[in-house]
Amino acid sequence: MNCNEFETQLDRCIEEKLAPTTELVSHATSCKNSSCCDRWEEHQLLERTIQAWLASVPVVDLTEAVISNSHFQLDDVEVLGPVPMIRKQQPQSPATGAIVAVVSLLVTAALLIAVTLRSSTSDLAINSPRVASENEIIPQSIEQTLTEEQKLRELGQTYASLMTDAKTRVSETVAMVIPDEDSMLTEGMGSASAWLDAWSERLEPLETKLDNTLRNFVDETLTKMNDQAS
């Protein structure tokens, strides 16, 4: 037996769980090639260690634990096979909470804008808008209110278009990151998080502006009402 045959036969013994032949052992003990000696030494070391390792598994009894939990498992048997051993790992939502938070924020903002716009519209309806003649001087307070309303409307439109875009993106992201119970690893997690962060940053100044405008508008309206009342 030469060194190549020794290698091949040893591999075969390992793969087929066969005991080494006398010829193989004879070559291993007599060959001067360091590669064969090392290979044989490693083989022996591993085989002995594996034997010790195999004998050291603790004995357990999980019967009661499994039986006590299995009664409801059989009630709703699902016709599904176990997941494949090696499969493409499905992404899981990296920040489901964050998505929910963003969606909630957007919905709240939408409601706020809708209420504000309706209020502005109804206000205009109550005050019967009229066409001013060319020479008529529009009082400064009314002009200011109209400017504020115009600003608010523009902001609302911008906000609404951003939300529409956001809704589409969130829907895409949610569709992309459907969670899988069996897979805890994620794909594209970084990009989704980065996208959410970017959106938060973009929305923040707009929110602040909108809040300020609304606050000013409400303050001025209240002042006007108080003035009228007094």
Binding site: I14, V66, M85
Partner: protein, 179 residues
């Protein structure tokens, strides 16, 4: 004959026969636990994962194909649960208890050698470790592992030899010598 008995056992389990369920669990619990113990290297985690795997096997019994052997099917579920448990563990590595560094007894007692190999196993890639444990611990053939892992036989052979080489290297570096 064995297949018939297995099918009967599963049918009884599906009919919610408690004795059959006990029999099923008793039949697989040690193998499933051993797989989990070797894959996770931690007894408590292994018990939890083995229990989870057995519950899952019971839950999905109806989907078992009676023309296929039951053992690899159950082991596959256990292996998947181990993979999930390991993925969870990687997210909180500080909670994992590692095996002791080189055991004082490692040169004289079998338990020391076993610890050394278990320690070495944890450095292997997860799929290589699965392959090694399935081959030696579960006594599956290369062919059976290839079917279970849905991979070519050649890949399993490569992984097996690579695992052995890595383990031997690790043991030698730690001056482990069997008596």
């Amino acid at each position: 004959m064995v297949v018939e008995k297995t099918v009967q056992l599963i049918e009884r389990c599906l009919a919610k026969d408690q004795d059959a369920l006990r029999e099923f669990v008793a039949l697989f619990q040690q193998r499933v636990f051993a797989l989990c113990f070797r894959m996770l290297g931690h007894r408590q985690d292994a018990e939890d994962t083995a229990q989870d795997a057995l519950l899952r096997a019971v839950k999905y019994l109806k989907s078992w194909d009676a023309s296929q052997p039951l053992d690899p099917w159950v082991l596959k579920i256990a292996s998947n649960r181990c993979r999930t448990a390991l993925a969870k563990r990687y997210k909180r590595p500080h909670l994992v208890e590692s095996l002791p560094e080189k055991s004082v007894e490692s040169q004289t007692h079998n338990i020391g050698l076993a610890d050394e190999l278990q320690l070495a196993l944890m450095i292997l890639k997860e799929e290589h470790r699965t392959c090694f444990v399935m081959f030696y611990q579960q006594e599956l053939s290369v062919q059976e592992i290839a079917e279970l892992m849905e991979l070519p036989i050649g890949t399993i052979k490569t992984w097996l030899h690579r695992s052995r080489n890595q383990l031997a290297e690790h043991l030698k570096n730690r001056n482990v010598t069997p008596t």
